[in-house]
Symmetry: C2
């Protein structure tokens, strides 16, 4: 049986970043930049005062101590540089505000707290006493172009757009940016026994938890979910819904992939043109997971280009919700991230300290719902009480999965285990 690593490699070798598209800056948060971005200006655009105080010449004050005339005009932020009668003469200090351009001739700012104005009833020009023993040329000044210079590359293609990048894009005049779009991810629940949340399950029926859960998983991963409904265990109904799903970038089905008599999904997917890449991975829970690719179905809205460029990635996920969740994190989320242009497709794993005694015995790598949190020594993981892959309720108390390798293992408190993160 395929290992998790091999299966992940097979998924990712069919997943390339979608064709880039231009979006308004405000919509780009969480997406990945698809262009290198260059600055069209120097920032700051002038030598800039970083403190409220006095702009002066270092050379006028040996030892940082002495008296200077006060320039009649205060230099404010937002004032054009050079708008004063420059340069400021020697032995003179100009009051200056944070963010204001340094007047020509000055080379240091002394903060207001290290100065005192000299009261005089007779003097025509005000005088200031400066006392800053560590006074250095350049102090409290950010030279022009320190943050970025005109023509400099400020963001690389492949950078995820977070708040800081949004601020920089705006600073260099970008109101729209080229990004890799959010993949459209179609979701189908399968099974005769499944009814929707607004229905009362009859005998032997259960409500659909995989549909809403997958919708949320896709949204959290950055994709754009489209829930298509429940397909009964019939070739026709399943084939019809699956064909509709093949218009999306990714199609997810839950249920119907085991070896049971009603596990129709692999057969139906083949019939609608999906080529199987793998079926079954050495993993617990989630072993029956199925993956294939299909040529994009023509949808009424799509243009010819996008149909040719990328196949639809099709995941037949197991029916039990915790198996769905594990397979999603291990295989689907990396695919979505790769389509979105993330260099780091994941999944994201960390090492953490187990806080309890535990024995684990399985022929397969086992994922156990767990709570991961930082403590003073790093990361700590606590297993939740869990009854197996149909037990989704227990998993609401988890934010990660502890990974136990195959074999017979005895863990003690303080032992380190690998953990699959789900919240990122």
């Amino acid at each position: 049986m395929l290992s998790i690593d091999e299966a992940q490699r097979l998924v990712l070798c069919h997943a390339q970043a979608l064709e880039a598209t231009q979006v308004p800056l405000a919509e780009s948060l969480g997406m990945v930049l698809a262009e290198d971005v260059f600055s069209d200006l120097d920032s700051p655009p002038f030598d800039k005062a970083l403190m409220d105080g006095y702009a002066l010449r270092r050379a006028d004050l040996p030892g940082g101590h002495g008296e200077l005339d006060i320039w009649p005009e205060t230099i404010l932020a937002g004032q054009p540089p050079g708008s004063t009668e420059c340069p400021i003469p020697a032995e003179t200090a100009a009051r200056i505000m944070t963010g204001a351009p340094m007047p020509a001739g000055t080379d240091a700012v002394v903060m207001r707290e290290r100065t005192s104005e000299i009261q005089s009833e007779t003097a025509v020009v005000g005088r200031v006493l400066v006392n800053d023993p560590h006074l250095k040329a350049g102090q409290n000044i950010m030279p022009r172009g320190t943050e970025m210079t005109r023509g400099q590359q400020v963001l690389k293609s492949g950078t995820p757009i977070g708040p800081a990048a949004a601020g920089v894009l705006s600073a260099v005049g970008r109101v729209a940016v080229s990004v890799f779009p959010r993949p459209r991810v179609a979701i189908i629940s399968t099974g005769n026994e499944i009814v929707e949340a607004n229905e009362n399950p009859g005998p032997g029926q259960i409500r659909n938890s995989n549909g809403p859960m997958l919708t949320a998983l896709v949204a959290r991963a950055g994709g754009s979910p489209r829930y298509l409904g429940i397909a009964r265990d019939s070739n026709d109904e399943l084939g019809l819904l699956a064909s509709k799903g093949l218009q999306s970038d990714v199609l997810l089905l839950s249920g119907g992939v085991s070896a049971g008599d009603l596990d129709l999904v692999p057969g139906v997917l083949r019939e609608v043109g999906v080529r199987e890449v793998f079926h079954k991975v050495n993993l617990k829970p989630g072993k029956p997971v199925w993956f294939g690719v299909a040529d994009r179905q023509r949808s009424q809205n799509s243009d010819l280009k996008s149909q040719i460029s990328q196949p639809t990635l099709v995941f037949g996920l197991p029916g039990n919700p915790v198996s769905v969740m594990v397979c999603f994190e291990l295989f689907v989320r990396p695919a979505i991230r790769r389509l979105m242009g993330f260099a780091d497709a994941g999944p994201k794993t960390v090492w953490a300290t187990l806080d309890e005694e535990r024995s684990s015995k399985s022929d397969r790598p086992t994922y156990w719902p767990a709570w991961l949190e930082p403590n003073d020594n790093g990361l700590c993981v606590r297993l939740v009480a869990w009854k197996g892959s149909p037990d989704l309720r227990a998993t609401t108390e988890a934010n990660a999965f502890a990974i136990f390798p195959p074999g017979d293992h005895q863990y003690r408190p303080g032992d380190r285990v690998q953990v699959l993160c789900t919240e990122y």
Copy 2:
């Protein structure tokens, strides 16, 4: 000067969860549940087979080995329990599929791989040979109500709604849930020198990075951002925009809170009825941060009730973008999370291993942009090259802030430092 902890306490004692509201399940992702949720059913609704194989009586097979008649009907998932001619007689095994209800009389499932059908041309009834030496009563069965029982509390008020909770809510029939709403957060940039991203800055002007950055920070924190534009440094213009902002749950202004001649924000906010709670926190960068509260302004859309129940929280943030970011993470984000009903308001800090030599000297706790990532030993932090609070570009390479306590410190590679997380 106020410490960061004291300032955070003052912010949080003015921030309570907003009045709960009902939203469709699909919109609740990332919000916090405002009601206890109980199950209206047993799950599974019957004793459920966890494997494809044969349902049988443990007592019929001493040693787990022997031959049984095959029941003529296969039990499928989605089939009502008790729909077979129950109970299955002794010395008989029924073919059963994963997820199907156990037929009455049986108490174990043997997986298909441990059975073989006996070929016979003469027999009327099929026979199966079972060989499962570890056969135990109850094996491969999930008893009715294992995941949850009717009437059981399955989710507590205060639980953040993630994918697993969405699945459970759907399973218990909830198509809408009561949650604490996303706070409306108004954003104003201030300063004569600021122009919008679509403009070409004249001499001495810079483009607005704080507006788009705060919009993104608010969205990432879970709030609903409303950008109101740039206010010039005039009491009238600032007062008008600020009054508009007071219709929201939170009002953020950037710039104009230092001691400079044009730092009008604290005065104008007092004029429009905001009561100052604090001004200045012992922190670098971000010292001039201002916080106050105001009675809610009447907006055309709001009802009387919400105006009475909660004041508007008003943050006067510094003008330099990295100061804005640090103050947002330390004070604004916890407020937003508390309004959203998160028990854990944050901020989120972890301890990590510094990977370089570093000296830090400051009279204030200092936040330095840094890259936090897991390694095999826990968490590791790398400082980015950063030129100070106006240098937002450098911060695009960071996902956290390393925290250096006040004083004169010399760090070596491997030393542990506290880190403020920004991506959660």
